[in-house]
Symmetry: C2
Subunit: 370 residues, 2 copies
């Protein structure tokens, strides 16, 4: 069975096809097997044309009659069978819930506990996602969720047999909580905002929300609350595909940069769904080391970079998807030289609303890093 | 100036009174000072009658003409002045934003940076909360927020000069995100739900939400997403005060128990606002070690308790607010003896919806731990 990424197929049909191909193999006296792409570091590459991290073409076969693979093969098929059931039941769980179902139903039938640790089932789920060309969200497995947004768009969430309309200008101090799955039974409509501002920290998001920044600027303000979860990355991409520019606003430090590059080019861990979660057109709005030249007061609000920051900055300079941008080389080199970093919170120094002015000015002058 | 916990006073009046008392001291040639309650471990006690952790009566004076206190005194007054400004501006920030404002406006006027580390300003904010008898939320300082809920209640959030009504039966897969401040400019109305179920893990909350458990049971389902943030603890208490029973549903391990006891009796760290955040009538619904007797299948879904779990269980047995309950002694002893623990996720073993049945049965039989 080949990877079906290019074919639009309902999840359960894809699982059934996998099952049929295995039965065919057995009926024909062949060793049952399926093919997945290698998720090893050497098969993760930066796609120059599409500008994101993805898997290369190295494939791996999982076959049943193979001492090293037999157990994993059986485990993977057990996972596929469980997901097939979840989809038929129209119920969702997490990989932890799946793990317990496997432990419950397979622990007795076979001599040994076929899943003794969840760490065993996780890579097999990724195998299955790649082999079937489906995301785990389509297999009814919720990933961790995190992140909120506010702004001029509406959500139609088909939930409990009802179509629930959520107006993201009417979410008050809380904002709308971004779910794990932003693709299935959910639509983003009346997107009248002009751009998306992604703010690293919830604290700054709350600051901007209180100022009704999203209303004054006709923007969508979103916070991933740190590193962006799968659902948040996917939603940023979807909004970008609707034509909205995406501006990312983080600390000027290793963690902030990591958050930005993960949104823009995807990440090593999720390279196997890179095309679904990367937003290559995202721009970096700040804070930057060069803000220290533009805003004098920030010089007394820097803090010392940690060893981790410095080490990470050094590594980032060497990444091919970063070093191709002169501006980023300068930015990173400046931190390494000065051993100082800057937090987005520092923009509140002169007055709480200064952060609004800062962002508006950056956007007006198109003062971004690529 | 004495602690004003018992007096209802607008936040800025309380701050102004503090300022006036200091000016009075100066005008009268006295050493300016204010009084706060000691937040040392020895002054934290379990209130037998009210059943929560609170500060004792040991008070501490902070005075200006005192080599050890002079700097802290000045810093505390600077914090009070900033909060007074935030309240007048009707704008909120975090303790991190406050820190940068202090660094910005005081870094130049005096020879040394009066706040070089945020760790320096945090305890002073607590000093001020206690001295003024106000929570930081009333000083326009947002705390971290976390947690979501769904169920039959409405929220009137006065936000951006609008009264926004949020119907918590219409939040779809996301739920309503619980904010930092659940007291000011926000009301909880039409609370028609019959009880509050607090679910440790967001994953399980999503499972129950998908099953419309809140609708079928006429309950409010809430998840603190791990340890409960200040806003979530406060909201649980407010709902309890409206007469709703509160049932807490966590893992049967050290972390889960800690979440429960923090909700019920408050915590050491927040003992200074114990009366505002503890919900002494909360009950523990599960999962429990004794579930292993009631639900045979759970025996194959236990996992090994960690050293931390065992050590913590041993400590908890000795707490006066826990050891007074025989049931908890038995529960804790059982884990210590078996070295096994149980996750709430394990209830998904037989079928995804089993968790619903489990909770309903527990409530029907009033099968709780105190």
């Amino acid at each position: 069975m080949a990877k079906q990424n290019s074919i639009e197929k309902k999840p359960n049909e894809a699982i059934e096809d996998l099952g049929k191909s295995i039965i065919n193999d057995i009926d024909s006296g062949r060793n049952p097997k399926f093919t997945t792409l290698a998720r090893t570091r050497s098969n993760i590459l930066y796609d120059q044309k599409n500008r994101y991290l993805k898997l290369g073409s190295a494939s791996e076969e999982r076959s049943f009659i193979n001492v090293a693979q037999s157990k994993k093969f059986m485990q993977t098929i057990a996972i596929a069978a469980k997901c097939h059931k979840f989809i038929k039941e129209n119920l969702h769980t997490t990989i932890r819930g799946l793990y317990y179902q496997l432990k419950f139903s397979l622990g007795e039938d076979v001599d040994e506990n076929i899943f003794s640790e969840q760490a065993e089932s996780n890579p097999l789920i990724e195998d299955l996602e790649v082999a079937l060309g489906l995301k785990r969200e389509e297999l009814n497995l919720n990933a961790n969720r995190k992140g909120v947004l506010a702004g001029n768009l509406k959500i139609i969430d088909t939930f409990g047999n009802e179509k629930i309309e959520i107006d993201c200008t009417k979410q008050g101090r809380s904002g709308w909580a971004i779910p794990s799955d932003v693709d299935n039974d959910i639509e983003f409509v009346d997107v009248k905002a002009k751009y998306v501002l992604v703010v690293e920290k919830d604290a700054l998001w709350q600051r901007l929300n209180e100022d009704l920044f999203w209303k004054k600027e006709n923007a969508i303000i979103m916070t991933p609350q740190g590193q962006a979860a799968r659902g948040t990355r996917r939603l940023i991409k979807k909004l970008s595909e609707k034509g909205l520019p995406v501006y990312v606003f983080t600390d000027s430090d290793a963690w902030g940069w990591y958050i930005y590059w993960t949104i823009k080019t995807g990440s090593i861990n999720l390279a196997y769904i890179g095309g679904d979660v990367a937003t290559p057109d995202a721009k970096f709005i700040g804070v930057t080391m060069s803000d220290l030249d533009k805003y004098e007061f920030l010089n007394k609000l820097t803090i010392n970079a940690s060893e981790v920051d410095l080490k990470r900055a050094q590594e980032m300079i060497s990444y091919e998807w970063i070093k191709k941008y002169k501006e980023w080389e300068v930015e990173l080199a400046r931190m390494i030289k000065s051993k100082k970093k800057l937090e987005q919170d520092a923009l509140q120094g002169p007055r709480l609303t200064f952060v609004d002015e800062y962002i508006k000015e950056k956007i007006k002058n198109r003062d971004f890093l690529p």
